[in-house]
Amino acid sequence: MRIIKSDLNIDFLKIKMLATVTSVVLMLASIGLLATKGLNFGLDFTGGTLVEVGYEQDADLDAVKSQLANAGFDKVVVQNFGTSKDVIIRVAPIEGEDKDKIGTKVFEALKQASGENIDLRRNEYVGASMGEELTEQGGLAILVALICILIYVSVRFEWKFALGSVAALAHDVTITLGLFSLIQMEFDLTVLAAVLAVIGYSLNDTIVVFDRIRENFLKLRKAEPTGVVNTSLNQTLARTIMTSITTLLVLLALFFLGGATIHGFATALIAGVLIGTYSSIYVASNVALALGITKEDLMPPEVEKEGADQDALI
């Protein structure tokens, strides 16, 4: 079976300008959204209390809200979680003595008011300072990952490629975050992990394309850089699409069957894989081309050597 015809020769770079404009617009829009609307940070980042309660029947959210108001909790967010029987209640951090007891109090209040046999499924309390620390750590993690990757790609390829791949990563991360800002889906710790996984995935894609560009530069001696890049993109297209499909297959399974707790995780990764696939074709190689890659940049002798000692390994 073939998805991509074998004699494919799409002129990807014909719409280079259009792609560049699209990417820049999307990135600016994402930054704008992040600056104005921001992310809907979850408990992990904001601090506060979250209680998940399981009812026997469909829960009446308004009743839950008024029951809590009667118990003295008026600034709460009440939502269904996963099913209509599950409710999560978020209480913003309150200054006072027993901040860590709020969860239990909320549950007791609901249990008494409803008269039903309700089930405490989750009770989480995160101190406000913890959240700040996590935001710092998360940002730091993304930054450190980007720098390490920049160094590795510089060593293995060349700085122009490294910049290209990091540009693609920044592009993917920004737009994924922008999407989360747009749909205001909760951004919790698992989503942060997903964003970091997007970095890994998108990079994987980019490296495969770069590897082929390098190989073709050495093989097609007289070709133009643009031509080489285009040929490489065509040659790797089948693989790019195949891998995206298999990854998306499992992600869709997670999205539909994984339950509400990892909904955000699956959403971030699905968005990231789609954006990552696009960016490995347009952003990474475009940036590298714009920086003016030439054949001379890519003559590291160790590439040939690596192929030679493979027999021993496999």
Binding site: G54, Q137, L140, V153, A197, T243, L251, F265
Partner: protein, 629 residues
């Protein structure tokens, strides 16, 4: 005769030893993944006093008691300090706990906990096989993060230094105007003349060489500024943290939790995970409980093991020996004066406990002991403990009571000051425990709850179910897709992918400390998707070679060859991302990073070496007209 040293191997064949190695590695992976299919037994875990082992006779009695009450026992073991009674269902488990708790109520300080014990067969267990350890989000339980109040730890230490400086200066007859703490400066000792100041500085420097000193003049006063260097501050913080951890560990044993986790996290925090615990309030009450110690004199006129207390004294039992002591109510030196207690060894290398008191405590101790040489002094611990009763199958806190206990009552050998040692017939373990109790009775700095997560058992079960379903569905979807798209080669990739999953499960089961969390499952799912990437790269290369007219056998060879460096580069960069995640992340992010990291390593092995071996087996060593790809 001459032979060519290297025999030329036909194209696309592997040496026999390579197959042997692959088979062995795979067999090992299957063996260590195996414990996961046996499930878990409902079990009762009994622990002895202070979380120690249960004596063999006592364990027999417990078993007998259960049998007498009609509880059917599946299997029971009392090994490595872990007394486990396996039962058939959760109902008998609850009944057995009630019976055992009642049985042990007046027999001492035993803990009885519900547990799920892996039902791994013995032969597998002997080979080191154990199932995956599930995180709290999958098995339910309570997670706490406590933060030690380091400001208090440091200010207490500063107070103690101030006390010590004052008594040193008094001792040396150096008149000071004041010794105070000045914010952003340090500890300041003020003098009226330069000469006194200079000799005071040299005294302080001599006695407290761990501190930094400098001198200055302000107005009419001559000052010594003493600061605690960063190294010492780190030491103070670490001490406060370790002390809290030790205390918490002691208290958690009381909670009757099967496999608690108490761990330092960063420089100021302590992570506590209590699997299976649902009542977080109760856990918090116990963890936050206070114990105090005191040094008091024994009234010997009451005789040995008295049954009535003489006037001005109270009867307190020594827990370890069961002997009563008549303890004088005053004088009393309370534990707040205690600054340190460590185990040391005397000249006969017998263990001893070195105790340090602050200067006020030292003065009191001197007054109390100088008149009572050769008489016993008791070390008494008062602890508030909860009393629990079984209501509707759940333990409920009904009351708290003050438990008083004589830890030890050694004779006073000489007049004691602010630092002295307690000797006796201690074993090293007993000495360590006693030092720990002394220290824990005088926490330098309290710890606060900064994070708390309770996951109910129903949510845990649901998370496991959902995780399993999504792995299976996603996995099968990928298998079908690969089979349709790459035919025979797709089948090869599928075998590689399946063994990859076995490898991940085996490694996760083998690595101590690796726990499977929900994000971890997501990591596995993601690896399943990405693991085929290596094979896709190879197969697309082979197709390309075929299009260019290379003969099939050579195409296979070239495909694997050329794809290799690409696969390596692509995976190493993802490995970097996983490593960064592991290094910086905490909790769930770490869980995800571990599975991603392992998944990349195993997928490289199975996709490159494993799939090549199968392809070689099918197509190797002959000239081919056509291959199914």
């Amino acid at each position: 005769m001459l032979y060519n040293q290297q025999t030329v191997r036909p194209i696309n064949t592997y040496a026999g030893w390579k197959y042997a190695m692959l088979v062995i590695v795979l067999a090992l992976a299957i063996l260590y993944a195996l414990p996961n299919i046996y499930g878990e037994d409902y079990a009762l875990q009994v622990s002895g006093p202070k979380g120690g082992p249960v004596a063999a006779e006592m364990f027999e009695q417990i078993e007998q008691n259960l049998k007498d009450n009609g509880v059917e026992i599946k299997k029971s073991t009392n090994e490595d300090g872990r007394a486990l009674i396996r039962l058939f269902d959760s109902e008998t488990q609850l009944k057995a706990r009630r019976l055992t708790a009642e049985f042990l109520r007046d027999k001492g300080d035993f803990g009885v906990a519900l547990n799920l014990a892996p039902a791994t067969p013995e032969w597998l267990e002997n080979l080191g096989g154990s199932p995956l350890k599930l995180g709290l989000d999958l098995r339910g339980g309570v997670h706490f993060l406590m933060e030690v109040d380091m400001e208090q730890a440091i200010s207490k230490k500063e107070d103690q230094y101030i006390d010590d400086f004052k008594s040193l200066l008094r001792e040396q007859k150096l008149r000071y105007a004041s010794v105070v703490r000045v914010n952003d400066v340090g500890l300041v000792a003020r003098f009226r003349d330069e000469e006194t100041r200079d000799s005071a500085e040299s005294e302080i420097r001599q006695r407290f060489n761990e501190l930094n000193t400098r001198s200055r003049e302000t107005g009419e006063l001559y000052e010594v500024v003493i600061t605690i260097p960063q190294v010492k501050i780190t030491e103070i913080k670490d001490y406060a943290l370790q002390q809290n951890i030790a205390t918490l560990r002691n208290r958690i044993n009381e909670l009757g939790v099967a496999e608690p986790l108490i761990q330092q996290q960063g420089a100021e925090r302590i992570l506590i995970q209590l699997p299976g615990v649902q009542d977080s309030e109760r856990a918090k009450r116990i963890l936050g409980a206070t114990a105090t110690i005191s040094f008091q004199l024994v009234n010997e006129s009451a005789g040995y093991n008295p049954s009535r207390a003489p006037a001005g004294a109270e009867l307190i039992k020594e827990e370890d020996t069961g002997i009563n002591h008549a303890i004088r109510k005053s004088p009393l030196i309370s534990g707040e004066h205690l600054t340190d207690a460590n185990v040391g060894y005397d000249e006969n290398s017998m263990p001893q406990i070195n105790v340090n008191l602050d200067s006020e405590g030292g003065a009191k101790m001197l007054a109390m002991t100088s008149k009572n040489i050769n008489k016993p002094m008791a070390i008494i611990m008062r602890e508030s403990k909860g009393i629990y009763e079984e209501v509707d199958g759940e333990l409920k806190l009904v009351d708290t009571k003050l438990v008083t206990n004589v830890v030890s009552a050694p004779n006073i050998g000489a007049a004691l000051g602010s630092s002295f040692r307690i000797t006796g017939r201690f074993s090293p373990t007993e000495a360590r425990d006693l030092a720990l109790i002394l220290r824990s009775g005088s926490l330098i700095a309290p710890a606060y709850f900064v994070e708390e997560r309770t996951v109910g058992p129903s949510l845990g079960k649901q998370n496991i179910e959902l995780g399993k379903t999504s792995i299976i569905v996603g996995f099968i979807a990928v298998l079908i897709f690969m089979l349709i798209y790459y035919k025979v080669f797709g089948l090869v990739a599928n075998i590689a992918l399946t063994s990859n999953l076995v490898f991940i499960v085996a490694l996760m089961s083998l690595i101590p400390g690796a726990t499977l969390t929900l994000p971890g499952i997501a990591g596995i799912v993601l690896t399943v998707g990405m693991a085929v990437d290596a094979n896709v790269l190879i197969f697309e290369r082979i197709r390309e070679e075929l299009r260019e007219g290379t003969n099939p056998a050579q195409a296979i060879h070239n495909g694997y060859d050329k794809a290799f460096s690409t696969i390596a580069d692509a995976n190493i960069t993802t490995l970097i991302a996983a490593l960064v995640l592991f290094g910086i992340g905490t909790g769930p992010v770490k869980g995800f990073a571990v599975t991603l990291f392992l998944g990349i390593l195993t997928s490289m092995f199975t996709a490159i070496v494993g799939s090549r071996a199968i392809v070689n087996l099918i197509y190797g060593g002959k000239s081919l007209k056509k291959i199914s790809i």
